[in-house]
């Protein structure tokens, strides 16, 4: 049950569309900055596979310029 957080930087003038695209994704929480083109993304997924798929989807978003990992935790199910 991994939990990750990232800093997502949108492409120029694409902050709004990045937030909209991220918000449609399951297991994904979006926290946009008020005064900078920076978005905090938090993923809370049931397993590693889902996490990897979600990460891949986020990286493929057309409005995303870069994605940096800030925090990672993976709680293995017993």
């Amino acid at each position: 049950m991994p939990i990750f957080s990232y800093l997502a930087i949108p492409k120029r003038d694409a902050r709004k569309s990045l937030c909209e695209e991220l918000s449609t994704l399951e297991h994904c929480q979006v926290i946009p900055a008020d005064n900078q083109d920076v978005v905090v993304v938090v993923t809370d997924t049931p397993d590693e596979h889902t996490e990897k798929q979600l990460q891949h989807t986020i990286k493929s978003l057309p409005s995303l310029q870069s994605l940096s990992l800030a925090f990672g935790y993976n709680e293995k199910l017993e």
Binding site: S5, L7, Q29, I31, D34, N35, V40, A70, E75
Partner: protein, 772 residues
């Protein structure tokens, strides 16, 4: 607060990302992110202006489980850009003192007993009606505050002036800003500053006139210091009567004898003219010259009246008037070396320097407060340094809504929300908006604050309702007014949040909602209106001051004028009030805009705020096709006034040989009734003291902490000495902060006031000292 393990890890993930963002992008804010509002262990942030001073810093208050638990500066607020002072950072703790007043109390057989608030409101309405019926409409009075929200003051004015027909509405801003108002009105014909805080980012020179900004307006002072560090050549000149923390940070401190700022200001004008530094084009195009009455008195006697009259003079007559104020002559009056006066004049006179003057209580709490305001405007007008970025004579306010509620709504005896009671058109406008017969509004002002409390003592006023202020600590010559309030047939209602010496004299105490426990608006020093939502619930039966007044109004039969429901009354009150200011000179933002933003400056015309008034590049009210339009006066000019130096009402003599000066400290707000209940602020300065010059202390034989008796013609007070503390008065002066109700320094002060503004002088009276 309950938080499961997984939620905890998720919060850690969020926290790490926010911290990373903060280190990579300094100043980044996630303030508007409302995560899981009301949920356990997490914060919802909402905007509000700070309620401790007139700067109007934007705060973000963090709420968890219905309780305000955190504060940070609002980066979206241009006032403070995310910075707060110590009062701001600790402000929400003032909501949660253990002795909050949460129920109404009524005095029965001499003892205050708890009653349901509806019963107390019934009694207030009955007593008000009975007193008015028996003794006439002017036997009842309302005394409010620059900490009233705009809706508080508006409904108070509507009830008392519009419905009850008495002009007995005053506010404690009479004690702090009245001279600023009359200064603006006499020089420009309209109240409030032409500039804005952005002036700080443009000025080359700052002159603080009797103004300890480092403690009283610390966030603005920090902005000055930051500009000095960032830009070459920026200077801060501290023109003062004692050494303070402002002096420590200033580039230069110039000390003058109390009251002689009048002479020094005239001397600066003399030097400007003598050295041909006058901006002739500006003066010829935009300025006219006038003189008023002299030897105008001090108002220390009951029923004192004064009315000024303006006589037009020319530039040559003004120049002749200034002959009495050569730097050499003024040095003898003021103690300021002639060279220092010439230096000050050279700063104002240098056309390549942008100069901003700041002042607050030092110039306003002054028996010639209107005059000294006029004289600083004179300096700026002679050199044309006004209404452009960085060139600003800037009167700072002390309270969060002295401007918004008292000056703009007009909660002073002579004022209406638009204009004055003496003006028929203004009365007509008020009657129409308020839906009352125009005859209801009395064309004659009644009592200003000092005279109102004298009337309470005499028995001319029998009923007084006091909200959001603590006059039994703050009135000068206090003993007379406390004794008056305690007389048998007086009925005093006090709405407040904590017990104070004022609730001690109350017949009814109403529990008030405080600050963010209600919705409201404040108006700060730079014409900025700031809305705040109700963020947390008030405790017990506490109720907003606005709604208390509405409840009483309904009980008195004024449902038509106060038709609003408790679910939604702030928005309709604002939209009704806003009608008074329609037009480009004072247009206010609609409610929906205020609710969205961290403050909006008026005039707000076509969606744009006005940063510099009277300048057509910024101000849509300018119509004369010139580079400036001083449209407040009928001659479309700003007025320079010939105002002489006249001595203080009471000066040291052989018997009372010290000046007494009073004021504040950074940790405490006014009388300390709120900040003394915030542990960190209280522990920082737990009690008041008297600052004494070390040589005077040695002469008296006292050391730090020893008790000193301060004696005046009104009373005496014994308190500990502070020697070489944060403030050091000059020889022959003592200074006492007034925040501590255990040391009522106003039993010693004098109730002399400026005859034009009626604002008392808390900075000057004569005392003698004894080792206790």
């Amino acid at each position: 607060m309950k938080l499961d393990r997984r939620e905890f890890i998720k919060q850690a993930a969020i926290g790490s990302a926010l911290a990373t963002a903060g280190s990579l992008f300094p100043g980044i804010s996630f303030g508007s992110w409302n995560r899981l509002a009301g949920g356990p262990g997490v914060l919802a942030w909402q905007k509000t202006p700070c309620r401790f001073c007139g700067t109007g810093c934007g705060l973000l208050v963090g709420v968890s489980d219905g309780r305000a638990v955190a504060v940070k500066g609002d980066p979206n607020c241009t006032v403070n850009k995310g910075l707060c002072c110590m009062k701001g950072y600790h402000s929400v703790q003032a909501l949660y003192g253990r002795d909050r007043i949460t129920t109404a109390k009524v005095r029965k057989n001499g003892t205050l007993v708890e009653v349901p608030i509806s019963e107390a409101l019934n009694l207030v309405a009955e007593k008000l009606k009975e007193t008015r019926d028996t003794y006439g409409k002017d036997s009842v009075a309302m005394y409010g505050s620059g900490q009233w929200t705009i809706p508080d003051g508006y409904v108070a004015s509507k009830l008392f002036k519009g419905c009850l027909g008495t002009n007995n509405v005053e506010a404690n801003a009479r004690l702090c800003m009245a001279s600023a108002v009359t200064g603006f009105m006499t020089s420009f014909g309209l109240d409030e500053p032409m500039g804005c805080y952005e002036d700080i980012d443009h000025a080359d020179v700052f002159v603080t006139w009797g103004n300890n900004m480092a403690e009283m307006h610390p966030v603005l002072f920090s902005r000055m210091l930051s500009n000095r560090k960032r830009r070459a050549g920026v200077k801060i000149i501290d023109f003062a009567t004692r050494f303070t923390r402002t002096s420590q940070a200033a580039d230069k401190t110039i000390i003058f004898k109390p009251q002689t700022d009048l002479a020094v200001a005239n001397s600066i004008c003399y030097e400007i003219i003598k050295n041909n530094w006058v901006n002739d084009n500006f003066v010829n195009e935009h300025v006219s010259f006038h003189k008023g009455k002299t030897n105008i008195g001090y108002g220390t006697e009951d029923h004192f009246t004064f009315s000024d009259s303006a006589e037009t003079i020319d530039f040559e007559a003004f120049k002749l008037f200034l002959e009495d104020y050569t730097p050499e002559k003024v040095e003898k009056i003021s103690g300021v070396p002639a060279e220092e006066i010439k230096y000050l004049a050279s700063l104002y006179g240098n056309p390549s320097l942008k100069v901003t003057s700041f002042w607050c209580m030092g110039m306003n709490q002054h028996t010639r407060g209107t005059w000294i305001n006029n004289l600083v405007y004179n300096i700026h007008l002679l050199v044309g340094k006004i209404s452009t970025p960085g060139n600003s004579p800037f009167s700072l306010t002390g309270q969060p809504s002295a401007c918004g509620t008292v000056r703009e709504v007009g909660t002073l005896t002579h004022k209406l929300p638009h204009g004055v009671v003496m003006n028929e058109n203004d009365r007509q406008m008020a009657a129409e908006i308020w839906q009352v017969p125009v005859e209801n509004i009395d064309p004659k002002p009644s009592y200003h604050t000092v005279e109102m409390f004298r009337a309470l003592d005499r028995g001319d006023i029998k009923f007084m309702w006091i909200q959001v202020t603590n006059p039994m600590v703050t009135m000068p010559n206090l003993r007379r007014y406390r004794d008056g309030a305690l007389k048998d047939d007086r009925f005093v209602v006090v709405s407040d949040v904590y017990p104070t010496p004022t609730t001690d004299v109350a017949d009814v105490i109403l529990p008030a909602a405080m600050w963010i426990e209600q919705e409201g608006m404040f108006g700060n020093s730079e014409r900025r209106t700031q809305h705040f939502a109700q963020i947390v619930d008030p405790p017990g039966e506490a109720m907003s001051d606005t709604w208390q007044i509405i409840e009483v109004a309904k009980r008195l039969g004024f449902e038509k004028q106060f038709p609003w429901s408790q679910d939604n009354y702030i928005e309709p009150i604002w939209e009704e009030y806003r009608r008074f200011h329609t037009g480009p000179k004072h247009e206010m933002a609609p409610y929906t805009v205020l609710a969205e933003r961290s403050g909006v400056q008026w005039p707000f015309v076509d969606g744009r705020e006005t940063r510099w008034r009277y300048n057509p590049a910024y101000d849509p009210a300018c119509k004369n096709d010139k580079d400036f339009d001083f449209y407040g006066k009928k001659d479309n000019r700003a007025w320079i006034w010939a105002r002489p130096y006249e001595p203080a009402a009471e000066s040291p003599d052989e018997e009372y040989n010290f000046w007494l000066n009073t004021g504040r400290v950074i940790e405490h707000w006014h009388t300390g009734s709120m900040t003394r209940r915030v542990p960190v602020l209280h522990n920082a300065v737990p009690s008041s003291y008297v600052e004494i010059h070390p040589e005077d202390a040695a002469d008296l034989g006292v050391v730090n902490g020893e008790l000193v008796k301060i004696i005046s013609r009104r009373g005496e007070l014994t308190m500990p000495a502070q020697i070489n503390g944060r403030g050091v008065p000059v020889r022959g002066m003592v200074f006492v902060p007034f925040f501590d109700e255990s040391y009522l320094i106003n039993e010693v002060t004098l109730d002399a006031f400026c005859p034009i503004s009626k604002q008392p002088d808390y900075k000057k009276c004569a005392v003698r000292l004894e080792k206790a």
